[in-house]
């Protein structure tokens, strides 16, 4: 065979920049699709995690709070009869056996934890106390607390009525959000999981760079006239596409299986998504710049990802955490990414909102600083680490 004798121009393929981008992108696409790890951590893991959390924490949220109590009416009188009829009317209390029982019987039920509490009605119109019998083991339990709270309010009202006054102040609940729609836990968790998956994609995904460097692939590409800028761009486009697949998949599962409500402001979503995804990729790039081995990289990425997972309000609102932790949350980028996604996917917040831009600002700072540090480290090492 004398193939190589031919002048290069005859059998050659003329290329241009777009062709190079296309080939690089196709290669990235194949590499991602063929990498089992990418499927597991990028798709399977977030889906499983979200499903577990949703099943555990929002599965019973449709049911109303209900508690079973026993009523003791030692000597029926007008006051106790009035109270009995009113308590029976409260939907939260389910009265065991439907009618008053003896005190002994009621206490036995409490002891055996067959009821959450026993309510002992006043013995006469003059008697002023209502007894509440609660099992000591359950004293701090939610049901016992709730029963005592409800009963307390009930007694107060009864007092007012007895004094002939009508309540002047009544507490009325109203939840206020800056957006149009309210947030329930499913929506909260869904948006949090989307933020987490994209963040992890960026923080873990750059391990490819460490691997490529370790195997000498970066060096190999530098020996060709390949445009490394285009190579980076094709890699970035691939990662963004993968993240879009994550958003769509998680949203579909959240909405179709768990009944999440999404009201999307597409423009805000695109901005938040792009800035968030890029800054977490910058974070991963930074990790890759100082990690010599994939193990070292994964260690750093794991620590950061775990810290952020629990401190950034992905699973639970930041407000439920101890106060001293909250300042840490307020500097983490994932806090603002999750918030930004909630604003754009649940509250339909418009891009012109100030608070949103503060969050975007924090993410941009994280992205820019880590990217610059990473580039600096890469440049410094390029000279020393070539051997």
């Amino acid at each position: 065979m004398c193939l190589l004798h031919l002048p290069a121009k005859n059998g050659g393929i003329k290329i241009n920049t777009f062709h190079q981008f296309k080939m690089m992108f196709l290669a990235q696409l194949k590499l991602t699709l063929r990498e089992k790890q990418a499927w597991f951590w990028g798709i399977f893991f977030p889906v499983i995690l979200m499903v577990i959390f949703m099943v555990i924490f929002s599965g019973s949220s449709d049911e109303e709070f209900k508690t079973e109590v026993a009523i003791v009416d030692p000597s029926p009188n007008p006051a106790s009869e009035l109270m009995l009829s009113q308590i029976s009317g409260l939907p939260v209390f389910e009265i065991k056996s439907g009618k008053p029982v003896t005190r002994d019987k009621a206490e036995e039920w409490v002891k055996d934890q067959e009821v959450d509490a026993a309510i002992i009605l006043p013995e006469s119109t003059e008697a002023s106390s209502v007894f509440l019998v609660i099992n000591k083991e359950n004293e701090q339990g939610a049901a016992a607390q709730a029963v005592s709270g409800i009963l307390d309010k009930f007694v107060q009202q009864a007092n007012l009525m007895a004094a002939g006054a009508s309540p002047k102040y009544a507490l009325q609940y109203e939840s206020i959000t800056s957006g149009t729609n309210e947030l329930d836990y499913t929506d909260f968790l869904l948006t949090g999981m989307i933020a987490l998956s994209i963040a992890q994609g960026g923080m873990f995904g750059m391990v490819d760079l460490v691997e490529m460097r370790r195997k000498g692939l970066i060096k190999r590409l530098r020996m060709t006239p390949a445009n490394m800028g285009i190579f980076g761009l094709s890699d970035m486009v691939m990662r963004l596409l993968f993240s879009i697949v994550q958003i769509i998949l998680l949203s579909l599962i959240g909405v179709l299986v768990f009944g999440a409500h999404l009201y999307i402001n597409p423009f805000t979503l695109i901005i938040v998504f792009l800035i968030g995804a890029l800054s977490f990729n910058a974070l991963g790039y930074f990790f890759s710049s100082f990690s010599k081995t994939t193990e070292a990289y994964m260690g750093v990425a794991n620590i950061c990802s775990f810290l952020m997972m629990f401190l950034s309000g992905v699973f639970f609102p930041i407000e439920t955490m101890p106060e001293w932790i909250q300042p840490i949350s307020s500097i983490l980028p994932l806090t603002y990414f999750a918030e930004g996604l909630r604003e754009s996917m649940v509250y339909e917040t418009s891009i012109a909102t100030g608070a949103l831009w503060a969050g975007i600002g924090v993410m941009v700072i994280w992205g820019a600083v880590t990217f610059l540090l990473g580039s600096l480290l890469y440049k410094r090492k390029a000279i020393a680490a070539d051997r």
Partner: protein, 309 residues
């Protein structure tokens, strides 16, 4: 015609002087081999020529081109197979070749390259599943995809079994038939002798000697090592040893049991005398051999050190 000229290259990494002073020039169409033990500075020299590492001192010219002004033109002219044989493990050989082809204005079709490196059969397997030899052939294929004038092969046969190594030799000889210039590093002397038009022996970052394999060997002393072993045991060997003490052309002898090693400037004459002596004494000789000189002896002669693979 000179296609590559290297003058007074120097490179240090911290305290370590990897390359102290290396100069040579390579002619069009030849297989030029840089050989030396591990850590001699072969790879660093090659990486400076390939533009990956900038030298502390010295010049590199590809005809009229140099790295400072014509990096892209040089990259289009050369094809490199680095020691690490880096490629995309989850792509197939064909996909790897097509991807690399997209980096160049003019590239050979992947199909042709697959035939040259004998991987047509495996073109659709993931690289991850290829054997060491197949991987190495693909690495050479990637170096050929741009149809380069100058091909750099950095230890292409290290760690391969004899058959896989011979396959790579065939490819290198084929490239030579096609008129390509090949610059090869190896630490196998046998390989350098078989493939090269000229050999540049380096040690501790310096060029020790540079010539064709045969003239390098010819330049050595004509003293040869003769080995004789006797069926009659130690006594016969001792006797022969004593007999040779008076022989003029013998510089040195060494005896180990029934085996005698003789270093002689005129081996034929010495052997003739020896056989006369053994016939006289009716000793029986079991084995006779004269060792051929190889590049290893050149290395030992120049450095005074043993050669280790």
């Amino acid at each position: 015609m000179t296609v590559l000229e290297v003058r007074n290259l120097q490179k240090s990494f911290g305290q370590i002087k990897a390359v102290q002073d290396i100069s040579f020039s390579v002619n069009a169409g030849e297989v030029f081999t840089i050989i030396g033990p591990n850590g001699a500075g072969k790879t660093t020299t090659l990486e400076m020529i390939e533009g990956l590492v900038s030298p502390d001192n010295g010049e590199i010219h590809f005809g009229d081109l140099d790295w400072n002004k014509h990096a892209v033109s040089i990259k289009k002219k050369i094809g490199v197979q680095p020691q690490s044989s880096a490629m995309f493990d989850l792509l197939t050989p064909e996909e790897n070749l097509n991807l690399f082809a997209s980096f160049y204005d003019h590239a050979r079709p992947a199909k042709e390259i697959l035939e040259i490196v004998n991987l047509t059969e495996h073109r659709n397997n993931h690289v991850k599943k290829l054997s060491g030899g197949q991987r190495q052939r693909l690495a050479i294929g990637l170096a050929l995809i741009s149809d380069p004038e100058i091909i750099f092969l950095d230890e292409p046969t290290t760690g391969l079994d004899p058959q896989a190594r011979r396959n790579i030799w065939d490819i290198i000889l084929h490239l030579k038939e096609l008129g390509k210039t090949t610059i090869l590093t190896t630490h196998y002397m046998e390989e350098a002798e078989k493939l090269s038009d000229r050999v540049c022996i380096v040690d501790q970052g310096n060029v020790i000697t540079l010539d064709s394999p045969s003239s390098l060997i010819e330049k050595l002393t004509d003293e040869r090592e003769i080995r004789l072993s006797f069926l009659d045991g130690e006594e016969a060997a001792k006797d022969a040893d004593n007999f040779l003490k008076d022989a003029e052309s013998v510089s040195k002898t060494e005896r180990e049991g029934a085996t005698l090693k003789i270093w002689a400037a005129r081996p034929e004459e010495t052997l003739l005398d020896l056989f006369k002596f053994t016939k006289e004494k009716s000793y029986q000789v079991e084995q006779v051999s004269i060792r051929e000189l190889s590049l290893e002896d050149v290395f030992i002669a120049f450095t005074g050190k043993e050669w280790r693979d």
